[in-house]
């Protein structure tokens, strides 16, 4: 990963020793230097998850026509695998990318990453919260989920992190109950994992939550500053004077610079309404998040609402479930069982995998695209970059394959304030290792071949662990490992000592995110569940990389 953020103190040191011999007061700096010293913007994280499964082929994700969406294998090599600039696949009406995203993303390819070959530790499904962190969602089907009862998903971790969200702004879970964010966003309130309380699926309820029933100020609203805001300015000036003391070492100075930066971030968060840009427009459309795949106006209205909320700083984490579970497609009673589980069945002349793919593509066009467009065009005054640059949007469909662990589909937008590079299609697989087989809930229903080129999907090239994406997101948002790792939260695979022989003598695991919530402490390792759900994930990947952020092309 490339970290572009220029530390403010590093910058000041680079401006020359003469500056350092006098107190570095911001008022003494030329305007252009001051502008460059404020490079730690407020960040936002938005996850958009399309419920249920989506098949994809050997060249990965989602192909929505009879001709496979066939992004060729990337042609360039970097430390993490292979990559190729997305502009090489510039979507025109006939290009491969247009079938997935249409032309809506054409202007934003440089702000976008498509990642493939991120694999889970084990099988999951049914809106399981592994997508954002940890646990399976369906207690009836996954009776052993309780073993991970205290692990919150990363949206909760971020939102409750006082450095990321000092004012304690609410986490906005919006989507339909049951199969929306309720199913992949988990707090740990009450000891056993508790689902996030969804704001609901209705746009009006989301609007009222974000804008306090419409009472937030309109254009030009006054900034609400913490009573200690100004005193904190003088605290920071004291730090500057001490760090300029002649009795100080280079190491002292670096230490104080870091503290100064962190306290500056706290101070910056002490104003609730950040700029005069805050403007919550009248709600343009009523409707339900549930309708996003089929109603572009609903998708745009939600995108506008979230954009306004970001400009008003009324929330920093948004978790959106654009799920549709039953009865929407081809009059199927349950599109999970009839469509997702049967990718080669046909309805009204379309294979079910194509129906799933089209639904995901519709969510991308109807909601993600307008959101990206909005955030790319709004400038964050804290650093003069777009809100898209300062934020991170994560879009996915729930599963890589039918409850499979291989190659989860991941699209990222934004740069997290410069912490992430972008503009690439990135493949983390090592195809020299071959491919592995996907399987459904029993051994008789093998939907995916490990032989490329068969009529069935066959795309499970050995990749890297999906958990690294979660770690990447958390770190890019400014969290340190100590902020999200501890052996209380992560007890399931934390410091395990009994899985080493399958993983190059690995004796310690830690970090955020898990695969299937199998009780390793009590399970019979020869049981069906272990062999089929857990073991493939453990044995396929080098779990020593479990805690490391992903590499990104520079």
């Amino acid at each position: 990963m490339k970290y572009n953020r220029m530390n403010r103190r590093m910058f000041l040191q680079g401006t020359g020793k003469t500056l350092l011999s006098i107190p570095v007061l911001t008022s003494l700096l030329p305007c252009e230097l001051w502008a460059q010293t404020t490079t730690a913007p407020t960040k936002r994280f938005i996850s958009v998850i399309q419920g249920y499964d989506l098949g994809h082929n050997a060249n990965w994700i989602p192909f929505t026509g009879n001709n496979a969406f066939n992004i060729p294998q990337p042609n360039r090599i970097f430390s993490g695998g292979r990559y190729q600039p997305l502009r090489d696949f510039a979507p025109t009406n006939s290009s491969v990318l247009s079938t997935y995203a249409g032309s809506a993303f054409s202007p934003y390819l440089e702000s976008m990453n498509i990642l493939r070959s991120l694999d889970f530790t084990g099988r999951y499904g049914h809106g399981g919260a592994q997508v954002l962190g940890a646990i399976s969602a369906d207690a009836g089907i996954r009776p052993d989920r309780g073993v991970l009862s205290t692990i919150p998903t990363i949206d909760f971790v971020l939102n409750s992190h006082r450095g990321f969200n000092p004012a304690g702004l609410p986490l906005i879970n919006c989507g339909n109950t049951g199969f929306g964010p309720d199913n992949y966003s988990y707090s740990s309130v009450g000891g056993i994992a508790a689902n996030a309380t969804s704001v609901g699926e209705e746009l009006l309820r989301i609007y009222n939550q974000l804008f306090s029933n419409g009472t937030l100020p309109e254009n030009g609203g006054n900034s609400i500053a913490h009573p200690k805001y100004n005193i904190l300015t003088r605290v920071l000036e004291d730090y500057t004077r001490v760090r300029n003391s002649r009795n100080i070492s280079a190491s002292d100075r670096t230490t104080l610079d870091n503290t100064l930066d962190k306290l500056s971030d706290v101070q910056r968060s002490l104003t609730r309404v950040s700029t005069a840009q805050c403007s919550h427009l009248q709600l343009s459309k009523t409707g339900s998040v549930f309708q996003i795949p089929s109603n572009a106006a609903v998708g745009r209205a939600l995108a506008d609402m979230i954009t306004a909320a970001i400009l008003c700083d009324s929330a920093r984490v948004f978790t959106i479930g654009a799920a549709s579970i039953s009865g929407l497609f081809q009059a199927q009673a349950d599109d999970h069982d009839t469509i997702s589980h049967n990718p080669f069945a046909s309805f009204n002349g379309k294979p079910s995998w194509q129906i799933s793919g089209e639904r995901h593509a519709a969510t991308m066009r109807n909601f993600v695209a307008p959101l990206v467009q909005n955030l790319a065009s709004a400038i964050d005054p804290t650093n003069g970059r777009s809100y898209l640059y300062n934020s991170l949007i994560y879009s996915t469909t729930e599963s890589g394959q039918v409850h499979g662990w291989g190659s989860h589909p991941v699209t990222l937008f934004g740069n997290a304030g410069g912490r992430l590079t972008s503009g690439n299609y990135i493949d983390y697989s090592d195809r020299s290792k071959g491919a592995f087989m996907g399987a459904d809930s029993d051994d008789t229903l093998r939907l995916f071949s490990n032989t490329p080129g068969t009529v069935n999907f066959s795309n499970n090239w050995y990749g890297t662990h999906y958990n690294r994406l979660l770690v990447t997101i958390l770190q890019s948002m400014g969290l340190a490992p100590a902020d999200y790792e501890n052996d209380t939260l992560n007890r399931q695979l934390y410091n395990r000592t009994d899985i080493g022989t399958d993983n190059r003598n690995l004796t310690s695991l830690g970090g955020y995110g898990y695969g299937y919530p199998f009780d390793l402490t009590g399970a019979d390792p020869t049981s069906w569940g272990f062999r089929n759900y857990v073991y493939p994930g453990l044995s396929n990947h080098d779990l020593r990389q479990f805690r490391n952020p992903l590499s990104l092309p520079t």
Binding site: R162, R234, A480
Partner: protein, 705 residues
């Protein structure tokens, strides 16, 4: 550097006629130990000749008919030193898998490869063990001593850098508590800190050494320190607290200040209040001129001008002080220059603050501040007086050190509680979290007792004094009388002869959480944490059940079951070093209760037998040649004498006291040399801790620009 050496020499000469008073280290002046530094030769780096010679006899008998060096295919094994074996690539110290001399043997079965030596057939088990143990033990051989010391003092050694590091969680909390207790008293202060949930809010320290070694200042630290400063500053001006705060801090040194209303102070009283408060919050007076860095007092006085009231100004001053680097950090900028521009002398206040945090984990109290104000702590006599004062109460600091050193901050979770054996061994006990807490407390109390009563360090391993006061723990120990509140040599409750001595035999060190003890973990714990002996990870390719406890057996004790499980060729190399250490504690069950016989359960979890326990061990392969011990007491006594322990605790406490984020990289340290020498001479525990600061360099700082 040479200039600094001259400074130290001068100090040494100046103080050559001064001796400690009231101190058992009276024979050791605070002068430098000028031991000539001679780098050890390579051949000395591996030095246990007995083990080496034994191994060579095997080579002589089984290999040297061919390995004479006459052909390149059969390299010469007739080498005089261990160094030669290493340099010629025949062995890699500590690694069987990388040592050609081992992995080519027919006996070596860990992984695939050519195993065709000797051509005439495999070695005997004993012969193989002699070779593998020799290779394994090469890892723990330390650089040679100089004049019998494990550490050396280089006369040209510069003082430490003392770079800024954040207060640890405990130091931060203790500092807040001691600062505000002055005005509010401890009860009211504790209520205030509890009300704002202060302790829980501060992030836990994360360090591979000790909590004091965590230098990280994260976004969470920033926010929590801000939030705590915000809450406490507001809370301290509420109601009667304002007048308590004002009167306390003004009255420390009232000067010409006269006031009748705490909410309406004149300029003189405001300055007095700010000056006195900052002195206590920082452990030094605020600068009042621009001579050094800035007019610190003026910076705080401006808050009164900007605030809407005196109370709001006081709130702002408290807030600023609690967020200031002078409070949040060990920041040694209160210094004076020396002849060497690279080396600064700490002021008396800086020395007092450093002493206070090492020995008391908190800010200096009034006595230390007065000493710093009225005496020159760079001076030998005054310095020793300050150290003697600060070490009168080591409880907080020693308890923290002990918990971290022994890795008993948290004991294992309870497991298998429904197992009949668990129920049998916990009969009469309440197996809850409190039991674990009192187990830990007993160990820290024992260490504090030994320090406070000026007992020798060796009593850490030999004391039969019980510190159990909790009925549950007393029940576990079979003890009827609780330890007195203040334990002395005279009133101490003692364990029966032959049952327990020292901390290794206390419940916290023996507790497994389950119904069965694990001698391997016990052995590893002692070797790793108390003796600092390196332990390599298990080799790859072990069978799947290698890490599960051995199956229950109606005819075998725990010791026997573990012995059988680890006696295979691929296990015995390491386990011969680990197991005997754990087996020495076979007379203690999984909760640490003493047992002459062990209840034996079969595979159906039925109690079927009672077998005698045996704690006699041969430690020849584990620790030293010709070493046998009869029981845990005998073993503990050996540990107290061992150079491994002495070296280990020296490094550990030095690391802890100086907030190092990793263990000292070198054995070149005048401070550690001094600590080790005292330890080797039979020092008391208190004097050992004192010796951490007695090298003259402690009062200086090296500044890297």
């Amino acid at each position: 550097m040479k200039q600094f050496a001259k400074v130290l020499t001068l100090i040494s000469l100046t103080n050559s006629v001064l001796f400690f008073t009231n101190c058992t280290l009276s024979s050791q002046k605070d002068a430098l130990v000028l031991v000539p530094y001679n780098p050890p030769s390579t051949s000395e780096l591996v030095g246990n000749l007995s083990r080496f010679d034994a191994m060579k006899q095997v080579l002589q008998a089984k290999c040297m008919s061919c390995h004479t060096g006459s052909t390149t295919s059969a390299p010469n094994f007739n080498l005089a030193t261990e160094e030669e074996f290493i340099n010629r690539g025949l062995v890699v110290a500590g690694s069987l898998a990388e040592s050609k001399l081992v992995f080519r043997l027919r006996n070596y079965t860990v992984d695939n490869g050519v195993r065709n030596m000797p051509p005439t057939g495999a070695l005997t088990g004993t012969e193989y063990t002699l070779i593998t143990n020799w290779v394994s033990m090469l890892t723990r051989i330390v650089p040679p001593t100089v004049n019998g010391n494990e550490f050396v003092c280089n006369p040209n050694e510069l003082p430490d850098s003392l770079n800024a590091r954040r207060l640890s969680k405990n130091e931060y909390f203790n500092s807040l508590r001691s600062l505000f207790s002055r005005a509010l008293g401890t009860t009211e202060t504790d209520a205030l800190l509890t009300q704002h949930n202060v302790f829980a809010r501060v992030p836990e320290d994360v360090s591979i050494t000790f909590a004091t070694g965590d230098k990280n200042f994260s976004a969470v630290h920033a926010y929590e320190f801000f939030a705590i400063a915000n809450s406490l500053s507001a809370g301290l001006i509420e109601g009667t607290r304002l007048s308590q705060f004002v009167s306390t801090f003004i009255n420390y040194n009232r000067g010409t200040c006269a006031y009748t209303d705490a909410a309406n102070l004149n300029l003189d009283c405001r300055a007095t209040l700010a000056r006195n408060f900052l002195l206590r919050a920082w452990g030094r007076p605020a600068e009042t001129t621009n001579t050094n860095m800035n007019n610190e007092l003026a910076s705080f006085m401006q808050e009164f001008q900007l605030a809407t009231s005196t109370a709001a100004g006081i709130e702002a001053i408290i807030f600023k002080a609690l967020l200031s680097p002078q409070f949040l950090y060990h920041l040694q900028i209160s210094v004076e220059t020396t002849a060497d521009p690279q080396v600064h002398r700490l002021t008396s206040y800086a020395i007092a603050r450093r002493i206070a945090f090492i020995f008391n984990q908190t800010l200096p109290d009034e006595t230390l501040l007065n000493l710093a104000a009225t005496r020159n702590l760079a001076d030998e006599t005054s310095f020793i007086e300050a150290v003697n004062y600060a070490t009168q109460n080591l409880d907080s600091s020693l308890s923290q050190f002990t918990r971290e050193w022994l890795h008993i901050k948290q004991l294992p979770a309870y497991r298998d509680q429904t197992h009949p054996k668990f129920q049998l061994i916990t009969q009469g006990l309440t197996a809850n979290e409190n039991l674990k807490s009192v187990m830990i407390r007993e160990v820290t109390d024992l260490v504090n007792y030994i320090a406070k009563n000026n007992r020798p360090v060796s009593e850490l391993f030999t004391s039969n004094v019980s510190l159990a006061r909790d009925p549950n723990l007393m029940q576990l120990y079979g003890q009827n009388t609780p330890a007195p509140v203040t334990v002395t040599e005279q009133n101490a409750v003692r364990f029966p002869a032959g049952e327990r001595s020292g901390l290794l035999t206390r419940a916290a060190m023996l507790f497994s959480g389950s119904h069965s003890e694990n001698p391997i973990l016990r052995g590893i714990h002692i070797r790793k944490y108390l003796m600092c002996l390196q332990m390599s990870d298990p080799p790859p390719g072990l069978p799947a059940d290698s890490f599960t406890p051995p199956a229950l057996d109606a005819n075998l004790t725990t010791r026997q079951r573990y012995h059988n499980k680890t006696s295979g060729t691929s296990c015995v190399g390491c386990h011969s070093q680990i197991n005997p250490v754990g087996f020495a504690f076979s007379k203690y069950n999984a909760f640490g209760a003493f047992q002459n016989t062990e209840p034996i359960f079969d595979v159906n979890n039925q109690l079927v037998n009672n077998l005698s326990t045996d704690a006699r061990v041969n430690l020849q392969l584990a620790l030293a040649i010709n070493l046998d011990t009869t029981d845990a007491m005998d073993f503990s006594e050996y540990v107290s004498r061992s150079k491994e322990f002495k070296k280990c605790i020296t490094e550990k406490f030095y690391t802890y006291a100086n907030g190092l984020s990793e263990k000292p990289a070198s054995n070149i340290s005048c401070s550690m040399n001094r600590m080790y020498q005292g330890l080797d001479a039979g020092s008391t525990l208190q004097d050992f801790f004192k010796s951490t600061v007695l090298d003259s360099r402690f009062r200086f700082r090296k500044i890297d620009r």
